[in-house]
């Protein structure tokens, strides 16, 4: 009886292994169409990142906080910098130049701008980041009054006159210009005023606007935004090696040893067990950054979120890196059309408050809350401040799915 037990358990393990493989194959082919529930891990993603960051010692925490990088950590964005430099030199030659930087949030736009502006300290710079929607005439003028420290400017004509009369030329950088419109009738008013302002003031001002690619595409198809920006600089995705360099560069000055920890599945794999310890580490490292690149889609901020989620400090000088557990994204295919249209609106606007969402969807605030709150609870959305945004952990998968369904085109 006791001799039979190990044989039976072996048989059971083998059968369950085969069953698991068949299930995996079925899923890959798409034969099974079962409704996969949304993982709890998804709603806990941001919490896990925050608690992991909290548990890090201060010297590490400082390096991995989500903010534009310091010069020493800046990884080369040569082509983007060159394009900015070329626009700048053309503007200095009194040519009509306006610049649009098109990049995903977290793709390194702010750091690139920091680097570029640091090369030109002689030119006065005004820099601002739009945090809320500025889509009406009144909001537009109060925004510029605040930006330029003026009072009572209520028409574009006055604004143009004011800027053309300034003594020294300026660089004005407006980040998050995707917040200067709302997808409703009359929602492009501010954008149109901005175009007029840009076209009459380029002699005195080098305008640099930053947009997300989705908003840029939408505005280009609706109000031909590319006609108003002479130079369009698209932020390039980072490759796997670059992401690795960025993550590891922050440990350069520390005598920290990195140890990659395999998950249960990897540690049980025979091929992995047959390797010696050094090779196991190399193998884990290579796989880790490959997955990190795939999940982050070359986006620095997103890569950093995954990185923070997997690291912890062991014995002061040893930084352990857990293998990334990928989510099951198949639930996206079962989302209702109402949810898909909500995600479409949030992508196009880079997040919306309940008030703005109800204006875009032409729903009441109560109805909008009824749509957004369950999505927030299920982990599809996050709400760091007032705005609802798509959970970064599923952003790429949602975007790809919406593109495949023509919701975004």
């Amino acid at each position: 009886m006791t001799q039979n037990e190990p044989t039976q358990s072996k048989k059971k393990t083998f059968l369950s292994y085969i069953q698991a493989k068949i299930d995996l194959l079925k899923k890959l082919i798409g034969i099974v169409d079962e409704k996969t529930p949304i993982s709890f891990k998804l709603s806990e993603f941001m919490q896990e990142v925050n608690s992991s960051l909290e548990n890090l010692p201060d010297e590490y925490k400082k390096n991995y906080e989500l903010k534009p990088v310091e010069d020493k950590f800046f990884v080369n964005k040569e082509s983007e910098i060159n394009a900015l430099e070329s626009s700048f030199s053309n503007w200095m030659k009194n040519r009509f130049v306006t610049c649009a930087i098109v990049g995903q949030k977290g793709s390194g736009v702010t750091s690139t701008l920091d680097f570029f502006l640091a090369q030109h300290p002689q030119v006065e710079t005004i820099r601002v980041e739009l945090k809320e929607k500025v889509y009406t005439k009144s909001k537009y003028f109060s925004f510029f009054n605040k930006l330029l420290n003026t009072e009572g400017i209520n028409t574009n004509k006055e604004l143009i006159e004011y800027l053309n009369k300034i003594e020294n030329e300026k660089i004005i950088v407006i980040e998050n210009l995707q917040h200067m419109f709302l997808k409703k009738v009359g929602g492009f008013e501010s954008m149109e005023l901005l175009y007029e302002l840009l076209s009459y003031t380029t002699k005195k001002v080098l305008w640099i606007g930053v947009f997300t690619p989705q908003t840029w595409n939408y505005l280009d198809k609706t109000i031909s935004i590319s006609n108003y920006f002479t130079s369009e600089i698209v932020m390039q995705e980072l490759d796997s090696q670059m992401i690795k360099d960025i993550m590891l560069k922050r440990l350069e000055n520390k005598s920290t040893e990195i140890e990659f920890i395999p998950n249960e599945e990897t540690s049980k794999a025979k091929t992995f067990q047959n390797l010696d310890k050094e090779k196991q580490q190399l193998d884990l490292e290579e796989n880790y950054f490959k997955i990190l690149h795939k999940l982050s889609n070359g986006n620095i901020s997103l890569a950093q979120l995954y990185w923070i989620r997997s690291i912890s400090i062991k014995d002061k000088n040893i930084l352990t890196v857990k293998e990334i557990d990928d989510f099951d994204y198949s639930f996206i295919k079962n989302l209702s059309s109402e949810v898909l249209f909500t995600l479409q609106a949030l992508i196009l606007h880079d997040g919306l408050t309940i008030k703005d969402f109800s204006a875009v969807m032409r729903e009441s605030a109560t109805e909008s809350r009824k749509i957004l709150m369950p999505m927030l609870e299920r982990g599809l959305l996050i709400q760091p401040h007032e705005k609802f945004n798509i959970n970064p952990a599923i952003y790429k998968q949602v975007f790809d799915y919406l593109s495949s369904k023509n919701f975004i085109h």
């Binding site: 798409g30 409703k184 009738v185 929602g187 939408y218 609106a345 875009v360 495949s404 023509n406 085109h409």
Partner: protein, 289 residues
């Protein structure tokens, strides 16, 4: 049923011709036996199961992909005919293995007999074959035939099924489809043009209305922006009173949202025209009276 008729004619005509014209060749009666008939029936049942399952799997995969949905569904009727032909030929060849002369004679007699017996059926079948090769529309397209408008559900050998917006299935004989004009809204693409008609008073500011109409289409969640938006005004007269009919033409991102989009555009335009006092309730009444 169709296949049973075919088998019956195959049996009948081969028997009479093969035995008369080629007395030295194998007698048709020698070729058949109860076992062979049973094998034939089994083969046909298996073919039917295989083809039905295959079509279902294709429909399943088609529904998974928006881009390939219409293409895959459009291929299903062609594949069905090809597979049936292959299976029938294989069944005859493997089970009966008739000499070529006998086969040719049988086929000729089938053609004559079936032609006489089922003229309308044949017309529909040829209509179906013409539809598959000419491809004026595919499964998944939105078409208008006479008074019927809807999404093509299936193109069968003799009929085409169309589901209308009010969810009724209309069965149209293929012969009719080849004889009448068919209007196709999307021609195999996921997007299609949608027209929202709005009645306006004759003295309305058309420039302003055009701007509002275009913006209304642009902000609809159903819009497909890779295609142009057009606004057309037409002067109409109703009971000696002139009025303007505005047609707002834009593309929907998925034909399944066609009517949602039409309604959405109409709602947005009217709401905005009323908000901006370009249109008043009284003027709508006057225009439509």
């Amino acid at each position: 049923m169709k296949i049973t008729i075919l088998i019956f004619f195959l049996f009948f005509t081969s028997f009479s011709y093969a035995t008369q014209k080629e007395p030295d060749s194998i007698n048709f009666l020698e070729m058949i036996s109860i076992t062979k008939i049973l094998w034939t029936l089994l083969s046909l049942v298996l073919s039917y199961i295989f083809i039905t399952l295959f079509a279902k799997v294709l429909v399943f995969f088609a529904e998974k992909s928006s881009k390939l949905r219409i293409t895959i569904k459009g291929l299903i009727p062609i594949l069905r005919i090809v597979l049936w032909s292959i299976f029938i030929v294989l069944t005859i060849k493997i089970i009966y293995n008739p000499p070529i002369n006998m086969l040719m004679t049988a086929l000729a007699s089938i053609a004559i007999a079936v032609g006489f017996a089922t003229q309308d059926l044949l017309k529909n079948m040829f209509g179906g074959i013409m539809l598959l090769f000419d491809r004026p529309f595919k499964v998944g397209d939105k078409i208008q035939i006479g008074e019927n408008y809807g999404e093509v559900l299936a193109i069968n050998l003799t009929t085409t099924r169309v589901v209308t917006p009010d969810d009724s299935v209309v069965v149209i004989p293929n012969m009719e489809l080849t004889n009448t004009s068919v209007s196709n809204s999307n021609s195999g693409e996921l997007y299609c043009q949608v027209v929202a008609k709005i009645i306006l008073p004759i003295d309305v500011n058309t420039q302003k209305v055009r701007q509002i109409a275009i913006e209304s289409a642009q902000v609809s969640k159903y819009i497909y922006l890779n295609k142009p938006i057009a606004v057309i005004f037409t002067n109409k007269i109703n009971e000696n009173k002139p009025y303007l009919e505005m047609k707002l033409k834009a593309y929907v991102m998925d034909i399944r949202y066609e009517f949602h989009f039409q309604s959405d555009m109409t709602e947005i335009v009217l709401k905005e025209l009323l908000n901006q006092s370009i249109l008043h309730k009284q003027s709508i009444e006057v225009a439509t009276k």
